[in-house]
């Protein structure tokens, strides 16, 4: 029944509004007429008294002076009287014939009376004018520009209960009728008077605003509707302390605007709270227990003999979202090239929550530990994800369904802004899982390259994922039982976007070309293969550090055969095999005359190695993660047999309850912060991403120039089989 009442109220209000509108239109119609009439009205007054105009003006002047000097409250109190007597006064003025007025002038006593009636007249005039000017302002409830306080206040009133508005409407109605009653006589035209009138108007305006406010407040406080509990003591200053009802609360809390606000502001707050450095710290008063305790827990590497601190791994953050990361595995990690504090992680599906989207992608911020900066979804498991190096807000990913998807951090939606079609074969895309995507090329000419496990390689335009720009099916050049190759990983040399290496399930690496060229067709190179791994290759990474010596032909692979191997890749497209055949690393398969190239060196581990990545700045540093759950950092310039640092991610809240079973500890991926190589992130089967800060001897800055040369020498020694 409450609702019924309210509906009726609203209907009534609408009717009122319509009335008001009509009235205003009518007024608009009549106004010009009035205006045209106006010149006639003063005619009678001014034309008949040209002789004594001066004296009359003087009289008016001091009359108005008195008016202005009068206290504001008083003049307001008078105004109703002015309204009522407006008609008589105007007729009275008509009766004031110029002659009689002039006569009375020297004699003081009656003059006061006369001016008084006149003062009333002026007042009505100004009053009437005020109302004529104001209504449009009042109906829209806009405050007058100069008053800051009022601005805050009346905006508040706007969102307030309808009771207040109601009051103002009826108020306006009154005014309208008063307007109709009040005569419009523009008798005065001199500038001074206008100024004074303006002054008066200003005063009146302020008063009326005051009154309006009070009206609204009282309307609110005795309001019939539910929650107008205005605490009058706090209403000044624009602060409206009122309790919201539960319904109102629900409406607010469910509004998109509010949720959006909560999302943004809570992020800011959490970043602020997560900030560890205290700007107010006073080092003079800090007690002794502020010691460096970093070295004890982590960095349990083998090479702890010298300069331990420079090679430490310090755990700085762990990212885990209870709602989303539960029972998912980290499938890829990538740092943003533009914002080194951001990293994107992709996850496989949570089999125990089939109603949740299978694919999950989260962007974490090193300064915001407790929640992801962004969360994205897809209908299929996301197997790999990468920030676009050419556009900071774009993230590309490869899915189990064979789709390539593109997310945009600017997008409101969690779904990809673009993705390739699911029906891969008919549209010329992938039909098998895509474990490897990359963006190759330059700022202005780049492609998304995706490779699926059935050997299909596609190049896509970032703007158009409906159809691949290139489609290439890799087939084994010298088929044995089958001509299929199943790439598990791929790598593009930093310098050449037309060639790439694929690592396959059977452990062989093949060089491939995107395009036909002289003597060879697009696809797997006929004459060359890199043989060494005896189990599927899990990762393949080109050396990308830029230094005085070019090391971009060094490739690092990790495999399920418990090794990490270092390769020196032959320049793509060169078929100069004769020169190389001297070394034991090169053998020629007699049946097929395919040249087999072996690795430079290998690093045997005690576990399957899932990932190995070069540091982005140091010539000899790389990191590996393995199935036992440890992350190791190597520096070939220090030691080629053992890692210089080793760490295991701490058990985290989310995973503490899980059994520390073998599988759950395993780490799948490692990523370096590409900008300065100071941070590293690892993640694995537990769904937790752990970020490390690496010691200064492993980080990007302070690389000595001779390091590059000595790395080159080291590679040379390896090449000659000296190691």
């Amino acid at each position: 029944m409450n609702i019924e009442q309210r509906k009726q109220e609203i209907l009534a209000k609408r009717a009122k509004l319509a009335e008001l509108r009509k009235a205003r239109e009518q007024r608009g119609d009549t106004k010009p007429k009035q205006d045209s009439l106006l010149p006639n009205a003063p005619d009678t007054g001014t034309l008949t008294l040209p002789a004594n105009q001066d004296s009359r003006r003087r009289e008016l002047d001091d009359l108005i002076e008195r008016l202005v000097d009068r206290p504001v409250g008083l003049s307001r109190e008078d105004s109703p009287a002015g309204k009522v007597s407006s008609r008589p006064s105007s007729t009275g003025r008509g009766s004031l014939s110029p002659g009689s007025h002039d006569e009375r002038n020297p004699q003081t006593p009656p003059r006061g009376r006369a001016t008084y009636t006149q003062s009333q007249a002026t007042q009505t005039v100004s009053d009437g004018e005020y109302f004529a000017d104001i209504p449009s302002e009042v109906t829209s409830l806009h405050p007058p520009p100069p008053k800051q306080d009022v601005l805050m206040y009346s905006v508040g009133v706007q969102t307030n209960e309808t009771g207040g508005k109601d009051a103002s409407y009826s108020d306006e109605e009154d005014r309208d009728s008063s307007l109709n009653r009040s005569p419009r006589s523009h008798l005065r035209s001199s500038r001074k008077e206008k100024e004074r009138e303006d002054k008066l108007r200003q005063q009146l305006r302020e008063e009326i605003e005051e009154e309006l406010k009070n009206l609204k407040l009282s309307a609110n406080s005795n309001g019939d509707t539910k929650e107008n509990l205005v605490d009058k003591s706090t209403t000044h200053n624009g602060f409206f302390n009122r309790a919201l009802t539960s319904e109102e609360m629900e409406v607010v809390v469910a509004s998109d605007e509010f949720l959006d606000f909560v999302n943004r502001s809570s992020k800011v707050i959490e970043r602020a709270l997560d900030e560890e450095y205290d700007v107010l710290v006073d080092y003079a008063t800090v007690e002794e227990d502020y010691e460096d305790d970093e070295d004890d827990e982590v960095g349990e590497g083998y090479g702890r003999s010298k300069s331990k601190k420079g090679r430490r791994l310090k755990e700085i953050a762990q990212f885990y979202d209870e709602r989303w990361c539960k029972k998912r595995m980290v499938s890829d990690i990538n740092f943003s090239p533009k914002f080194p504090e951001l990293l994107v992680t992709s996850y496989t599906k949570n089999a125990s929550a089939p109603q949740d989207p299978s694919g999950l992608l989260q962007v974490w911020n090193l300064h915001l530990n407790s929640r992801p900066e962004y969360t994205f979804h897809n209908t299929s498991d996301i197997l790999t994800a990468k920030f676009s190096p050419f556009h900071p807000s774009l993230i590309i990913g490869g899915c189990y369904s064979g789709q390539v998807a593109l997310w945009d951090t600017r997008s409101k939606s969690a779904q990809p802004v673009q993705k390739t079609r699911l029906s891969g074969a008919s549209s010329g895309g992938h039909t098998h899982p895509v474990y490897s995507v990359d963006i190759v090329g330059t700022q202005n000419a780049n492609n998304i390259m995706s490779i699926s496990t059935d050997g299909v390689v596609c190049a896509w335009s970032v703007d158009m994922l409906a159809q691949p720009q290139e489609y290439l099916e890799l087939t084994s050049p010298h088929p044995g039982k089958t001509d299929e190759v199943s790439p598990t990983c791929a790598g593009f040399p930093p310098s050449d976007p037309t060639s790439f290496l694929v690592g396959t399930e059977e452990g062989t690496m093949y060089p491939c070309h995107r395009y036909d060229r002289a003597g060879s067709r697009a696809g797997i190179d006929q004459d060359l293969r890199y043989k060494g791994h005896t189990a599927p290759i899990m990762s393949l990474n080109f050396h990308s550090a830029r230094g005085s010596v070019d090391l971009s032909d060094l490739v690092l692979t990790s495999s399920l055969d418990w090794t990490v191997k270092l390769w020196k890749v032959r320049p793509f497209g060169s078929s100069s095999r004769a020169s190389a055949t001297t070394s034991a690393r090169y053998t020629i398969d007699t049946d097929t005359s395919v040249e087999n190239i072996s690795y430079l060196t290998e690093f045997p581990r005690e576990e399957v190695v899932y990932d190995a990545r070069w540091a982005p700045q140091r010539p000899g540093v790389f990191a590996t993660v393995d199935g036992a759950g440890s992350v190791e950092v190597w520096d070939l310039l220090v030691d080629t047999e053992i890692p210089v640092a080793k760490a295991t991610p701490a058990a985290q809240n989310g995973t503490a309850g899980l059994p520390r079973a073998y599988g759950l500890r395993s780490l799948n991926k490692v990523a370096w912060d590409e900008k300065d190589g100071k941070r590293m992130a690892v993640g694995g089967a537990a769904g937790v991403v752990t970020a490390y800060e690496v010691g200064s001897d492993l980080a990007g800055d302070g690389v000595k120039a001779e390091d590059w040369a000595s790395m080159k020498k080291l590679v040379g020694r390896m090449e000659r089989g000296l190691r």
Binding site: N237, A243, A272, L273, S370
Partner: protein, 124 residues
């Protein structure tokens, strides 16, 4: 689907339960009405506790949610008039107020304010 709502509101609960966080408050910017608050007692509760049993001893020197809301609201208002006074078309984005005992972080927005009061970091 109330799911996104809940997920969003979880952010708030998580902030509220962070170590060191004493209270949180969401106000409407237009009139200062309290939309949500944690860690604060409302004025009505305070009254009843004052007249009631002694269990609420510390409630007396603790400000009620309404009082805090008013102070925060006024603070933001003055701060934004300061910001606008410095440069037109400017506005406050973040307020961090460090006191001896607390830090107050306020995020003002077009329609709402989020206020978080937490213990000041140790040193200082």
């Amino acid at each position: 689907m109330s799911q996104p709502t809940n997920a969003t509101l979880e952010h708030l609960t998580r902030i509220a339960t962070k170590p060191g966080v004493r209270s949180t408050l969401i106000l409407s910017k237009t009139d200062g009405a309290i939309i949500q608050s944690t860690g604060l007692i409302s004025a009505s509760q305070k009254e009843s506790s004052e007249t009631g049993q002694e269990g609420y001893q510390n409630a007396e020197n603790q400000k009620s949610a309404e009082e805090v809301a008013k102070m925060a609201y006024d603070f933001v208002r003055h701060a934004s008039s300061f910001a606008i006074g410095m440069q037109d078309e400017d506005d406050v984005q973040l307020l961090r107020l460090r006191t001896r005992k607390n830090e107050i972080v306020i995020v003002p927005d077009a329609k709402y304010l989020l206020v978080v009061i937490h213990d000041a970091p140790k040193a200082g």
